[in-house]
């Protein structure tokens, strides 16, 4: 079939212009929110103080808990997620229930308790924020359990998981949240 050269030019030009048109503004992408059921694996991890922690007991205790996956030398996503954690700790209204913040390392070989302690110090973390490392196989189990497995830590993505204390279900937030959005999600989940 013979194509009309004008139509080819038109399509090319339209595509080209639509591409340049998108440069004018870009709002931060909204996060997505789903409700999920996860089964926490029976693994023992190590926290920033070198203390062994049974993850299932920690996460399924019924206390308000939030989970994310980070690593100590991450370039982009983890610093922003951690800034969100740090900010949440300072923004919690007086008298509100304690929320246990948990960060699981996806670079367990490098993230020793000392590296994790230094990391938390950089973010001025308050008690109630635990950074966990462990055997690579156990970390993989945790990532898989939360549908967050990535074979290469550089390919990870921003994920925050909030456990609803009443139902035991997890609110899975994919993307970045502002401070007010994070607080609102905590309220919605019944943490505050």
């Amino acid at each position: 079939m013979r194509r009309n050269p004008w139509s080819i030019l038109l399509v090319t030009a339209s595509l080209w212009l639509s591409g340049t048109g998108s440069l004018t503004a870009q709002a931060p992408p909204p996060y997505t929110r789903t409700l999920e059921s996860y089964s926490v694996p029976e693994v023992v991890l190590v926290n920033q103080d070198g203390t062994k922690v049974k993850l299932q007991a920690l996460l399924d205790s019924g206390e308000p808990v939030i989970l994310d996956f980070i690593f100590g030398t991450c370039t982009t996503i983890c610093p922003v997620l951690s800034a969100g954690y740090a900010n949440l700790q300072t923004k919690l209204p007086a008298g509100s229930p304690k929320i246990h913040l948990v960060s699981v390392s996806i670079d367990p070989e490098n993230d020793t308790p000392k590296v994790m302690r230094d990391y938390l110090k950089r973010y001025r973390a308050k008690p109630g924020w635990d950074f966990l490392t462990g055997r690579r196989e156990d970390i993989d189990k945790v990532m898989r359990a939360f549908n967050a497995y990535i074979p290469n830590k550089m390919s990870h993505y921003p994920l925050t998981l909030i456990r609803e204390p009443k139902t035991g279900k997890w609110i899975r937030i994919f993307g970045m949240m502002s401070s007010s959005e994070f607080l609102a999600e905590c309220k919605k989940a019944g943490l505050l």
Binding site: W6, S7, L9, L10, A13, S14, W16, L17, G19, T20, L23, T24, A25, Q26, A27, P28, V46, G50, F71, G72, T73, C74, T75, T76, I77, P79, V80, S82, A83, G84, A86, N87, D107, P108, E109, N110, T112, P113, K114, R122, Y123, R124, T133, G134, R135, R136, N152, K153, M154, S155, H156, Y157, P158, M176, M177, S178, S179, S180
Partner: protein, 568 residues
């Protein structure tokens, strides 16, 4: 449809003209005498501190906001966390961090072929419009404060919006304008120049075990570049990748005389032959003089063959395979600390043979034991040339009543080990020894002591190793037999694999810091010798683990794994 064509074409041509107009680069600015009232050197240092550490000239953290309303102190993360040290940016988790170095800020940005120079861009048949013009100081300040570039494009919300005074802003902008502005030394014409350093005590055979694969790799690379090279990239990325592929050249810098004179010799070598980086290198002794030179000269050194690296959390320029002997000491401490049975960790004594190896092993244990909150172990120093006799060990056991003795001595204390094994009351006394220090003598560990002595073993399990090490033979080309005991050719092979990836990732941005930045962004590598090499920004020891083993019974003396590769 044809009714709309003139309007579309007008838009097309308009955009084309806009793009062409944006090609004009700002005229080069003369170097200022002062920046924000400060001497240039001082402003540079302050700007560097802002960029790398997020600290203002006042000493306060830089204040910023991410994700709309999340305040962040510069000490939590800084510009270099995402843009990396050379400023070429990163890609992680779907978020692209754009370059922020001088060479890129000073020219317009294009979506298509953004790496082309102004001159190269003029050669394009189709001139694309610029996504943004070159930054002026004003538009750059606006971007840093609001996240909006001069074309109206809003950066992702994860980019901090900085609250900076005009003076602080001027200092940071001055730093950015000069960051990775010109290629580093060692890039001459179409060739990247490297060197490798050999210290005087290294045998000819060991030198060749490193040089042969290295030279073979370079010869193959150059043969490829001559026949294929840039044309391959032209097919993949058009003109953009042209120039990324360079020939490689290697100089061998052989050091002479005492270690104290090596720094001066290296400076003379570098002055005579400016190179982009050091590849490999080999020494039986401490790497410290070469490490210190590389820090001074800001010269990357990739994976030297040494078991005595400098252990530092802040130094930047030398990328090691591991922390060497120090790492074995660390593994011993972590293993002992994590045992379910607390008895062996009760009273610990380190017996240290004088010399750099014993020192490094003991230091690794000492630092880690302290970090774990344990009471310092007692230490016994064996002067050079002396060995631990059975009587001396017997006295030590009676005097100190240790539950574990770390024997950083080599095989000279084998006869004394029987004394250790004989001690059964009140409980057996455990020992630690270093596989690297024992070398091939490991298989001769006295039978009675085998169940009591833990071995720090910094490599992959030996029965699994041959299939990985065999890969290294491809670069030996049959000229040299691989020596599994020294692991020199296999480590050189691993260095080359990481370098190859690093050169590709560096693209045509030939800045020394960028090479190290790109190494830091590599995914894990499964290569000979070490179970895994892993990377991350600023991580300078790629192999993070060390097994604890025990020697099995009989002549076979198989190593039996007692721990994970990485012990927490």
């Amino acid at each position: 449809m044809s009714r709309h064509l003139p309007r579309v074409l007008a838009g097309f041509l308009g955009a084309l003209l806009l793009g062409t107009a944006a090609l004009a680069a700002p005229p080069p600015q003369p170097a200022p005498a002062t920046v924000a009232g400060l001497p240039v050197d001082q402003a540079q240092a302050m700007g560097e501190r802002m960029y790398r550490q997020g600290i203002l000239p006042s000493g306060e953290p830089m204040a910023s906001v991410v994700n709309g309303d999340v305040p962040v102190a510069g000490t939590s993360f800084s510009c270099s966390s995402c843009h990396l040290r050379a400023g070429l940016g990163s890609w992680e988790g779907g978020i692209v961090t754009l370059p922020t170095n001088g060479a890129r800020l000073n020219i317009p940005r294009y979506w298509k072929f953004p790496n082309l120079s102004i001159e190269e861009r003029k050669e394009l048949k189709l001139q694309n419009p610029a996504a943004r013009p070159a930054y002026t100081d004003e538009t750059l300040a606006h971007l840093l404060r609001t996240g909006r570039d001069p074309s109206g494009y809003d950066m992702h919300a994860v980019m901090p919006r900085y609250d900076l005074s005009d003076r602080d802003m001027a200092i940071l902008i001055f730093y950015l304008r000069n960051l990775s502005l010109r290629h580093s030394p060692g890039v001459v014409g179409d060739t990247l120049h490297f060197a490798t350093v050999i210290t005087p005590e290294v045998s000819e055979a060991d030198q060749q075990a490193m040089l042969l694969p290295l030279n073979n790799y370079i010869a193959r690379h150059n043969q490829f570049s001559a026949g294929f090279g840039n044309r391959m990239y032209l097919g993949v990325g058009g003109n953009e990748m042209s120039g990324a592929y360079r020939k490689l050249a290697l100089s061998v810098w052989r050091l002479k005389g005492p270690a104290a004179s090596w720094g001066g010799q290296l400076e003379a070598f570098l002055a005579k032959e400016p190179v982009f980086a050091l590849l490999g290198g080999i020494s039986y002794g401490e790497w410290q003089p070469i490490h210190a030179f590389c820090e001074r000269a800001q010269l990357p050194c990739l994976f030297p063959i040494t078991d005595l690296p400098v252990v530092s959390e802040t130094d930047w320029y030398t990328q090691y395979f591991s922390k060497g002997y120090y790492q074995e000491g660390q593994a011993a401490a972590r293993f002992l600390n994590g045992l379910d049975d607390p008895a062996p960790a009760g009273v610990v004594v380190q017996v240290i043979q004088a010399g750099p190896e014993g020192r490094a092993l003991a230091q690794g244990f000492r630092d880690t034991w302290s970090e774990l909150g344990r009471t310092a172990a007692k230490e016994v120093l064996l002067p050079k040339g002396t060995r631990l006799t059975a009587a001396a060990l017997g006295d030590l056991l009676t005097r100190e009543r240790p539950t574990t003795v770390l024997l950083w001595t080599g095989d000279t204390s084998f006869p004394a080990l029987e004394r250790l094994a004989a001690r059964k009351t009140p409980a057996p006394v455990h020992g630690f020894m270093s596989a690297r220090l024992l070398g091939t003598r490991l298989a001769s560990l006295p039978e009675p002591a085998r169940k009591l002595v833990w071995i720090t073993y910094p490599y992959r399990e030996p029965q699994l190793e041959p299939k990985f090490s065999a890969y290294a033979d491809t670069l030996l080309a049959g000229a040299v037999q691989r020596n599994p005991a020294t692991r020199i050719s296999t480590r050189t092979y691993s260095m080359i694999q990481v370098l190859r990836q690093g050169l590709m990732d560096m693209d045509r941005h030939f800045y020394r810091d960028n090479l190290l930045d790109r190494l830091g962004m590599q995914r894990d590598q499964i290569l000979p010798d070490y179970l895994r090499l892993s990377f991350g920004p600023g991580q300078r020891y790629a192999a993070k683990g060390c097994f604890i083993m025990q020697v099995g019974p009989g002549d076979k003396a198989e190593l039996v794994r007692q721990s994970e590769w990485v012990i927490h």
